[in-house]
Amino acid sequence: MSKLLPREQITAALEAANTNNKVALVPFITAGYPDKDAFISTLKAIATEGDVVEIGVPFSDPMADGVTIQRSSHAAIAAGVSLHWILDELTAAEDLGAPVVLMSYLNPLLAFGYEALAKQCIAAGVCGFIVPDLPWEESAEFRAVMDKYGLALVQLVTPVTPDDRLEMLCKGSQGFVYAVTITGITGGDVALPPTVTDYLDQVKSHTSVPVCAGFGVRHASQVENLGHHANGVIVGSALVEQLEAGADPAPFLRDLRS
């Protein structure tokens, strides 16, 4: 994989999972939560089960996140977790065996400085970013730096995104397209409603990179259903709740794809 650009590593890892006729799994954890010392070991555990790992950089004002992520973010900040600390830890750690994507609000990135950030990402083995409060129109400066270092800037799309914008974002996304829904289908393992499957199919039609869906996935049946319409699923709050409860994340993740 060493010849691939960082952003290509993400795509390749997701495609590799699909090749085995499996839906790709993208587990998300809030960095250093609930135990700062266990950050790297937790990361290794989820990297073993997942195909790409998403690390949340805690932010004081996570306006696009639900209550679980908010709570874990505030706890991590209180414990001293910062973007500097995360990158230092990753740099010092062995290869995780799965590409790493950082999910961060823009302000910690601004405070770090884009150029310095990109450089240290390369050193730390970080392959790209998801920035929920950086819409496409405002992203040129950050994207230019990402591009320079081959890092991905993953675009988010939503069911209310108009068609022309959806196309633009899908074409512009790197690594994968993050397809979120608003209403969420947390809990329950009912079949996906047609509005969701149509939406995912439409997203896929606009992009050449994989599509990962974030739906508050909790159950294996959801993962299976989503697998017919998306390349991967992102498991966020449900996983953080497992960590919050002190449970081992590996079996939980394994069961989702069983």
């Binding site: 405002e138 974002l169 608003i182």
Partner: protein, 388 residues
């Protein structure tokens, strides 16, 4: 700098803002409601007592006399009418000290749209009378238990709930902050303050003031006062931020004095944040100024040098509040007291000038805070009596 989920809703809002603010019928209806319901124009008071004490000619633009007691109603009414035109089924709003929540509750009742106000659990405890006022006015008040449980968390929560229903809900933001088009919309709706004040002071004195001074938190009352005066180059403009306990980070809310460019709540502006990019907890005796950001137009006006931004400490503000009470019989909001403190300091260096101060609201809501800082005399004196 808004989440992708909100981009379509914001874009639709922007289209409607441009459309309705240029629509003569809409603007005439707004003016009529401002006049007959809000009570505009609000008075311009020549502050005789302060003028004498400060060696200047001091004029107060009296937003404390507007319906619900502060300038917030100008914006709340305008946006509620816009929400009605846009066919919104409900309005959501955030509030810190509760003034914007009360204004929104009132405007929504008047316009006839149900309204939900998100308010931090800590603020709900601190501002109980305003919570009760909102409730009386028919608003549903939701306690926000996340984050710091104050205004920042309430804004987060309001956005989050708007995300869940971006078409049916109208998010009625209370200050000149947040993603486009809010800063522009709020500035337009608040500019009635400066427009009225400009013509009133010309009527009363025959000339424009030497300086116009307003307090700056998010900055809606300041931008409302300043914007119509920007072209009058002879008028100096002074924004006064909350200096809190002092200049150390975390001890104040003086964003423009101490902050750096950053992104919060969907807009790029000057912010108070630490080396890791975490938004700073702030302090001010005035709940309405206790916000780590500032409207982007203020960042711009600072960069352009058109407006000078200074700060007044808690103590400065409390002293100015007491002086205004004693000299004018007007109890200003603690927010507005920062403008008064800034004016007093300015007057010291500029004797004999004409000063226009934006008195953004009344201080009744601040009585619990004031009682802590300024002891009540009750019980000291039971009165003397003449006997038969």
């Amino acid at each position: 700098y808004a989440p992708e989920t909100l981009v379509p809703a914001l874009s639709r809002l922007a289209d409607n803002v441009y459309r309705y603010l240029a629509d003569d019928d809409f603007m005439a209806h707004l003016d009529q409601q401002l006049s007959t319901w809000v009570g505009r124009p609000t008075a311009l008071t020549h502050a005789q007592g302060l003028s004498k004490r400060w060696g200047a000619e001091v004029y107060l633009k009296r937003e404390d006399l507007a319906h619900t007691g502060a300038h917030k109603i100008n914006n709340a009414l305008g946006q509620a009418l816009l929400a009605q035109e846009m066919g919104a089924k409900r309005v959501i709003a955030e509030t810190g000290a509760g003034q914007h929540g009360v204004a929104t509750a009132a405007a929504c009742a008047r316009v006839g749209i149900p309204c939900t106000v998100y308010m931090g659990a800590v603020d709900i405890q601190r501002q109980a009378p305003n919570v009760d006022r909102m409730h009386q006015l028919g608003a549903r008040v939701v306690a926000v238990e996340s984050g710091d449980k104050t205004l920042r968390a309430a804004i987060d929560e309001a956005f989050r709930n708007w995300v869940a229903d971006p078409d049916g809900s109208y998010y009625l933001l209370g200050s000149a902050v947040g993603p486009h088009p809010y800063p522009y919309l709020v500035q337009r709706l608040q500019s009635v303050i400066g427009s009225e004040a400009r013509s009133q002071i010309l009527d009363q004195t025959g000339s424009l003031p030497d300086v116009a001074i307003a307090c700056v938190g998010g900055g809606s009352n300041a931008i409302g006062l300043f914007h119509p005066l920007l072209a009058d180059e002879s008028i100096a403009l002074l924004g006064v931020e909350a200096g809190g306990h002092g200049p150390a980070l975390g001890d104040n809310s003086a964003t423009l004095a101490a902050g750096k460019p950053g992104v919060l709540h969907g807009s790029y502006s000057v912010l108070l944040y630490d080396n890791d990019g975490q938004i700073q907890d702030t302090h001010s005796v005035s709940a309405g100024l206790d916000y780590p950001g500032v409207g982007p137009e203020h960042s711009l006006l600072q960069a352009l040098g058109r407006v000078n931004y200074v700060s007044a400490t808690d103590t400065d503000a409390l002293n100015a509040l007491q002086e205004c009470c004693a000299a004018e019989g007007i109890l200003p909001a603690l927010e507005s007291a920062h403008a008064l403190a800034g004016a007093r300091a300015w007057a010291k260096d500029n004797q004999g000038k004409a000063i226009l101060i934006g008195l953004s609201g009344r201080g009744d809501k601040d009585m619990p805070t004031l009682s802590q800082h300024i002891p009540s005399p009750l019980g000291e004196d039971k009165g003397a009596r003449a006997d038969d």
